[in-house]
């Protein structure tokens, strides 16, 4: 890696168990600024749980997460957000009964000097972000339940843009989208990448993974199978890792743990 000095996120030997079931066991993976790392695996392989720990939705049982080289205490989603990590969940995490503006700022509302909600400031900022993402998105004052899948995705993504994410977690961002909207998401990922944002991309979709990611990390039964440069491996080899948990030995595995690399 040419920019190995900018390790943005460094997940080291992280474990998580739910009542005796090891969902994630000693997983290490890192992320550099301006890089896309794809996380792959079956349902229940532990990739979403791993990302939810980084996002602050689940507390970590053991191991540590470093952000910009410093050990981070991530105990809540707010902690994660404060570290510059934004998450776009597969479910989008939208309150369907509230409008797009309220959803963009949910949990982080702009306030007036009296501590009340600053609706005008929020609407202004929201319009600007929505315009960047989709110029045709106009009905921003209706509850998001009445929006199309693509528009809902725009609202979820707008959080990451407005709050200037340094690292972004995208959980199956294209799973429920049409071709047009998928293209928009791909374009956005490239734009963010160029702007130096590090992205963890959870995906089942091979074209997504091979089209967007720099490295890929395959998980199975809560453990990492291996981490490789995406350009080094073939789709068949990746499928082999996902299904059989078989490491690829043809090309060198990339050390993801910077401790081990040193």
């Amino acid at each position: 890696m040419s920019h190995s000095t900018d390790t943005l996120i460094d997940i080291r030997g992280v474990s998580k168990a739910f009542g005796g079931v090891h969902a994630v066991e000693g997983v290490s993976v890192n992320l550099f600024a301006g890089e896309v790392v794809a996380l792959l695996g079956h349902n229940g392989a532990g990739k979403s749980t791993l990302m939810k720990m980084l996002a602050g939705a689940f507390p970590i049982d053991s191991g540590e997460i470093r952000v910009n080289g410093t050990p981070a205490k991530i105990e809540s989603p707010a902690d994660s957000q404060n570290l510059g990590v934004e998450t776009i969940y597969q479910t989008l995490a939208l309150a369907d009964n509230l409008d797009s503006i309220a959803n963009l700022f949910l949990g982080r509302e702009l306030k007036t000097r009296w501590g009340t909600l600053d609706e005008f400031a929020m609407e202004k900022a929201a319009r600007e972000v929505f315009r960047q993402l989709n110029p045709n998105f106009k009905n921003i004052r209706v509850p998001v339940r009445s929006l199309s899948g693509g528009q809902r995705q725009v609202v979820a993504i707008s959080r990451a843009i407005y709050f200037k994410a340094k690292a972004l977690i995208m959980d199956e961002p294209c799973a429920a989208l049409g071709p047009e909207e998928t293209r928009m998401v791909h374009e956005l990922v490239r734009k963010l990448k160029a702007a130096g944002v590090g992205i963890f991309l959870i995906s089942h979709d091979m074209p997504d993974v091979f089209g967007l990611s720099d490295r890929l990390c395959v998980m199975k039964n809560g453990k990492t199978v291996g981490t490789y440069r995406t350009a080094d491996v073939t789709e068949d080899e990746v499928l082999g890792m996902i299904i059989a948990g078989k490491k690829v030995t043809r090309v060198p595995e990339l050390q993801t743990n910077s401790l081990a690399a040193a």
Partner: protein, 396 residues
């Protein structure tokens, strides 16, 4: 229905409140024609005053329901708090003010207990407060030793209305005009700010129509209150104190809902609790705070109820939880959570009291009245389901 809304550019919410206001108007005209004295100043004065206690609780319980919780214990807590206040004043000789503060403290203690079990331990609020419904009725009996605790403090008795418990004509008109000024200022300020930020506002005619409607209702109400004079008195009554307190509670809750992050979080939790937690809203804290808010309003309602009754008894507020919940539901608060307005709970409380009063004047018996009110609740919920489907709020 949606095309009608597109043409008028009003939200589903505003349309719904307008429909309910229309229902109230139709009921008022219907009862007036049937009885001839439904809209007399005396009857309107009494309706307003009698709605206050349930209305105060309904406004606050509406928020709990929006947050996907329920509180069945409000009637019993109201009794416990009321009995404590009257006991401290009657048996212990306390001044009314510290007695009321002690009542508020007790209400907060109960809210903390039930709210903590619900928010932090994750016990269903239905079960927690069902237990509370039974237990706190018992506590009310224990505190009062089963005896009625009469209250005689003249200042305290003013809170509940009665002969001198109204603010008089001058103060009523000043208050009414101030409220109208506020409505008009909000209209002008809102449109000015929208223009300044380059946002499109609703058509002027709609905005003006809503404001004018509220101004007419406000002034009409004040005029009616000032037209009522108790025969033994020299001056007209004006707005009764319980209604004033109800108004302050509604204003405060509407402010919390529309202008504070806390209010928004209640709706977000009701709309999608998982999402609320994932975006960093402290869900448990917000939930506990909303129980404390309800506890505060139950204490306020309790003070008004005791003062109205001139006594605290262990049977105070029996069955009141159901009236408060019914008022909120009739007022458009969805039991599924995430939707409802404070103003709606006011209209809901009034619809129930209109029925009670109108049917009473028509000399309909208590049994028939209960049958009718119960079925109206069902009609309201049926309307709710149909309306939400028509406006696309619910897909199934």
């Amino acid at each position: 229905m949606s095309s009608l809304r597109d043409n008028l550019q009003i939200s589903a919410l505003d349309l719904r409140l307008s429909i309910m206001a229309g229902v109230l108007v139709v009921m008022a005209i219907g009862f007036q024609m049937a009885t001839g004295n439904f809209l007399s100043p005396e009857n309107v004065y009494n309706i307003a005053q009698q709605s206050a206690v349930v209305g105060i609780v309904a406004a606050a319980i509406g928020l709990i329901i929006v947050a996907r919780q329920i509180d069945l214990s409000v009637g019993s807590v109201l009794a416990t708090v009321g009995v404590l206040i009257s006991y401290l004043m009657y048996s212990k000789g306390w001044n009314w003010m510290p007695a009321c503060l002690a009542g508020l403290a007790l209400s907060w203690g109960i809210a903390l207990y039930q709210g903590w079990l619900t928010s932090y331990l994750g016990v269903a609020s239905f079960v927690v407060t069902l237990g509370g419904l039974v237990s706190f009725r018992g506590v009310a009996f224990l505190v009062s030793s089963g005896r009625t605790q009469p209250v005689t403090d003249p200042t305290f008795l003013l809170i509940g209305g009665g002969l001198d418990g109204a603010i008089g004509a001058t103060a009523s008109w000043i208050l009414g005009l101030a409220l109208c000024a506020l409505i008009l200022w909000k209209l002008i300020q809102g449109r000015r700010m929208a223009k300044m930020h380059g946002f499109t506002s609703r058509p002027l005619a709609i905005d003006v129509a809503f404001s004018v409607f509220f101004v007419i209702v406000t002034l009409g109400f004040v005029a009616t209150m000032c037209a009522y004079q108790i025969p033994s008195k020299q001056t007209p009554q004006g707005i009764p104190n319980p209604v004033l307190i109800w108004g302050v509670v509604v204003g405060l809750l509407a402010f919390i809902v529309n202008r504070t992050a806390f209010g928004r979080y209640i709706y977000a939790i009701g709309g999608n609790p998982e999402a609320a937690a994932l975006v960093g809203i402290p869900v448990k804290k917000v939930m506990l705070k909303s129980f404390l808010l309800l506890g505060t309003m139950v204490a306020v309602a309790s003070v008004v109820a005791v003062s109205r009754l001139n006594a605290g008894t262990a049977s105070l507020g029996t069955g009141m939880e159901l009236y408060a919940i019914a008022a909120a539901v009739i007022g458009g608060v969805a039991l599924a959570g995430g939707s409802g307005t404070v103003l709606g709970t006011v209209l809901g409380s009034l619809i129930i009291q209109f029925l009670e009063s109108g049917l009473l004047l028509m000399e309909v018996g208590v049994g028939q009245r209960q049958v009718i009110i119960g079925q109206v609740l069902i009609v309201a919920v049926v309307f709710d389901v149909v309306y939400r489907r028509a406006t696309g709020e619910r897909m199934q």
